[in-house]
Amino acid sequence: MASSSGNDDDLTIPRAAINKMIKETLPNVRVANDARELVVNCCTEFIHLISSEANEICNKSEKKTISPEHVIQALESLGFGSYISEVKEVLQECKTVALKRRKASSRLENLGIPEEELLRQQQELFAKARQQQAELAQQEWLQMQQAAQQAQLAAATASASNQAGSSQDEEDDDDI
């Protein structure tokens, strides 16, 4: 859900994600709603804090992109060094997941329905749908034509019979 309107400053981590984490950390514990709200805000602040520090470290390092190393140094310097060992595990998983994803997408190309076939099927379905729409529109058009013709006929007969009856009344001609 990208929002192009509104401030970037109103961004927070979604409440649902926080609720889930709280639930996993403290199963069977009731948590007041305003406490949850505060956790959301604290989490957001934490991210700003670390990323700001990491950014400074990055600037000093003459690199242009914040790297994992910068984040790790930021954690250390801000007193969150105890997080570092677990955070490093993420790096390892990153590489593993990236590797698996590359393997999986190449496997998908080899097994199952190839992409061209899927595209072809999609085009077929679109074409069918278009045809059905066209036929529907055609029918409606025909019906409209018929209705219009009948109306004209009715009006013509009415005015004809009127003229035969009394030649004074010409108002009926306007009824179409």
Binding site: D8, D9, L11, T12, I13, P14, I18, K20, M21, I22, T25, L26, V29, R30, V31, A32, D34, A35, L38, V39, C42, C43, T44, F46, I47, H48, L49, I50, S51, S52, N55, K64, T65, I66, S67, V71, L78, F80, Y83, E86, V87, V90, E93, C94, V97, R101, A104, L108, L118, Q122, L125, K128, A129, R130, L136, A137, E140, Q143, M144, A147
Partner: protein
Amino acid sequence: MAAAAGSGTPREEEGPSGEAAAPQPQAPTSAPGARLSRLPLARVKALVKADPDVTLAGQEAIFILARAAELFVETIAKDAYCCAQQGKRKTLQRRDLDNAIEAVDEFAFLEGTLD
């Protein structure tokens, strides 16, 4: 006379049911132990980029920042729970978080978020 003209607009290119024809290849979901974070990474990235000083942040940096934020939430929740237990309560209240924040030096940066 019924106005049939207005209702006749054909819908363009919708196909039978949108996505039925073209399944997307899915990124592998949780392999054992390989979930990266409980936090939505796009949101974490958006938060990082909201800082005007930040130019670029690498994807892996975002990943580990998300994980750190997770750890932070776990830590602060546990700390707050200790406060609740000391108060002999079973429900975590906001004041428990307040106390937890004040008790830990590293959480000083949070004092701005307390009303």
